[in-house]
C-alpha cells in the first residue's frame, strides 16, 4: 500500500511518473520509512512513548484506517489522470540534444566515435514510458498523433545512429578491434562475433593456396579509416591551444574561436571531436 502511495503523491505534486529519487533502492528505503512513520500513530493514539502502551490499544489508531488511505489513493489516481497526464522527466532535452549531435558527428566522421550508450539507454526508457502513456489515449486524439510522431522521429534518430556505427564496425573491423574503447558493451560483443565469422571465408580461400603465402596476415587485411580526410567543423568553445595542420613539410597553427567554422583535416581536430568540443557539420 505504501508503495503505491509513494508513487502517486510525487506524481500529483511534481508531475513526474518516475520515482521521487530516481533510484530504486532509495525508493524501497523511503517506502520502508513511510510505512514506519505511519506506525507512529500508535504512539499518538496511546498518548505515550511507551511501547507497551502503543501495542495495547483497544482501537485501531487513526492512520491505520484503511478507508482513509483508499479514499486518498483514489483521489490521487483520479486527479493524476486529469491533471498531469504526460509524466515525462524533464531533462529529456539534454539527452535528446546530445544524441542528435552524436548522430551528426557519427555520420560525418571517418572513424567511429566514443559511444553514447548511456544516453541511448535513458532515451529508450523515456520512449518506452511515453509509449505506455500514449496507449491510453484515443488513436485519433491529436495529442496521440503528435506524441507518436515524436516517438517515430526519436526512434529514427537512434536507429540511424546505431546503424552508422555498425557500418563502421563492420568495415573497419580489425582496426576497430585495436581501438575498442569507443564501443559500447553490446557493440564489442558484436564486433568479436563479426570478426570471427568474417575471417572464416577469407581463411578458407587462403588455406587453398600452396606454401607459406597461404597464411592469413591480419596486417594485410586490416582496413583503416582515413583520418587525414578533410571535414567541415564548427567549434563549440574557444580552444585553449592552437590546432596543428600538417601540410607536407609545413606545419600550420590555427587558433580556433567559439562558433567559427572551418574545413580541416580530421586528424588535426580528432581529439576535440572525441571530447565534444568541436562538432562536425
Amino acid at each position: 500500500m505504501s508503495w503505491k502511495m509513494f508513487r502517486q503523491f510525487p506524481q500529483l505534486l511534481s508531475g513526474s511518473v518516475y520515482s521521487l529519487t530516481g533510484n530504486r533502492l532509495l525508493d524501497i528505503g523511503l517506502c520502508g520509512i513511510i510505512a514506519s512513520i505511519i506506525d507512529l500513530d500508535h504512539f499518538y493514539a496511546a498518548r505515550s512513548f511507551s511501547l507497551k502502551a502503543a501495542t495495547s490499544l483497544d482501537r485501531r489508531p487513526p492512520l491505520h484506517c484503511t478507508s482513509f488511505w483508499l479514499v486518498l489513493l483514489s483521489l490521487a489516481l483520479v486527479s493524476s489522470k486529469n491533471i498531469n497526464f504526460y509524466n515525462v522527466e524533464s531533462g529529456g532535452n539534454v539527452v535528446l540534444d546530445t544524441i542528435t549531435e552524436a548522430w551528426v558527428n557519427e555520420k560525418l566522421s571517418p572513424e567511429i566515435l566514443p559511444h553514447k550508450a548511456d544516453f541511448i539507454e535513458v532515451m529508450m526508457e523515456q520512449i518506452d514510458q511515453m509509449e505506455e502513456n500514449v496507449l491510453q489515449l484515443q488513436k485519433t486524439d491529436l495529442r496521440s498523433i503528435i506524441h507518436r510522431q515524436e516517438l517515430e522521429r526519436i526512434r529514427y534518430l537512434i536507429r540511424s545512429y546505431l546503424r552508422t556505427r555498425l557500418d563502421k564496425i563492420e568495415l573497419y573491423s580489425l582496426w576497430v578491434f585495436k581501438n575498442q574503447g569507443v564501443l559500447s558493451p553490446q557493440e564489442l560483443v558484436y564486433l568479436k562475433e563479426y570478426l570471427s565469422l568474417s575471417v572464416a571465408p577469407l581463411k578458407n580461400l587462403c588455406d587453398r593456396m600452396p606454401g607459406p603465402c597461404g597464411q592469413i596476415n591480419p596486417r594485410q587485411m586490416e582496413i583503416a579509416p582515413d583520418l587525414e580526410t578533410h571535414v567541415f567543423a564548427k567549434s563549440k568553445v574557444d580552444l585553449p591551444d592552437t590546432i596543428i595542420v600538417n601540410d607536407g613539410p609545413r606545419e600550420e597553427e590555427i587558433t580556433i574561436n567559439k562558433d567559427s567554422q572551418r574545413i580541416v583535416p580530421y586528424a588535426s581536430i580528432r581529439e576535440y571531436v572525441r571530447n565534444n568540443q568541436i562538432k562536425l557539420i
Binding site: 507518436r148 537512434i158 536507429r159 558484436y190 563479426y194 568474417s198 571465408p201 587462403c206 593456396m209 600452396p210
Partner: protein, 196 residues
C-alpha cells in the same frame, strides 16, 4: 602473364550487370593452379644449391613471390567484396535472401550469411529496452505517421501490431501506419503513393 586471371576475376565482379553474380570457383581453381606452379618453382629453388652465376634464382623467386602475393590479394579482394555485397543485401532484403541471389552464393557465403544474420539479430535484441530495437526500420527520416500505399501484388492478410487487419490484394490502396509497412514497401510488395 602471371596475375592475369586474378585481374579477370576482379573485373568480372566489377563489370557484372547482375545484382550478385555467381561464385566463379572455376576461375579461382585456375588461379590456384597458377599459384601452385609458382610455389613449386620457389620450393625447388629453395631446395637447390645457390650459385651466383649458374644457379641464381634470386630474381625468379622474388618475382614469383610478388606474383603469389598479387594473386592472394586479388582472391581475398574478390571474396571480401562479395561479402560486402551480401552485407548490403541483408539490410535490403532481411535475413531471407531472394532465390536468385542464393543460387549464386558459394557454400562458404551461405554459411557466412547465416552467421552474420544471427550476429546482427543478437545485437539488435540486446540494445534498446525490453524488446530490443529493430535497426532495419526507419531507413529514411520519417515524414508522416500514415502513408498511402498501393499493393503491387497479392499479399493476403496483414495484421498490424495494433490488431488492425488489412487485406492486401493487387492494386488495392490503403492508408496505413508508415512504420509497420516500411518493410513491405522495401520488398516491393507495396508502393508508396506520394500525395504532397
Amino acid at each position: 602473364m602471371w596475375g592475369d586471371k586474378a585481374i579477370e576475376l576482379i573485373k568480372e565482379l566489377e563489370r557484372s550487370t547482375e545484382i550478385f553474380p555467381p561464385f566463379d570457383d572455376d576461375k579461382i581453381r585456375l588461379i590456384l593452379e597458377e599459384c601452385r606452379v609458382l610455389n613449386q618453382f620457389i620450393e625447388d629453388a629453395m631446395n637447390s644449391t645457390f650459385h651466383p652465376e649458374t644457379n641464381n634464382y634470386l630474381a625468379g623467386v622474388k618475382a614469383r613471390t610478388a606474383a603469389l602475393e598479387r594473386n592472394k590479394r586479388c582472391l581475398l579482394a574478390y571474396q571480401w567484396n562479395r561479402l560486402q555485397m551480401l552485407r548490403k543485401m541483408r539490410w535490403e532484403f532481411g535475413s531471407i535472401l531472394p532465390v536468385e541471389i542464393k543460387a549464386n552464393m558459394s557454400e562458404g557465403e551461405v554459411a557466412w550469411f547465416a552467421k552474420y544474420s544471427k550476429a546482427l539479430a543478437n545485437y539488435m535484441k540486446g540494445i534498446g529496452g525490453r524488446n530490443g530495437l529493430n535497426l532495419m526500420l526507419d531507413m529514411q527520416p520519417p515524414k508522416d505517421l500514415y502513408i498511402e500505399v498501393r499493393c503491387l501484388k497479392d499479399f493476403g492478410k496483414l495484421e498490424l501490431d495494433t490488431g488492425e487487419v488489412f487485406y492486401l490484394s493487387q492494386n488495392s490502396q490503403h492508408y496505413m501506419p508508415r512504420s509497420q509497412v516500411e518493410n513491405l514497401v522495401r520488398q516491393g510488395v507495396l508502393e508508396h503513393i506520394n500525395w504532397s
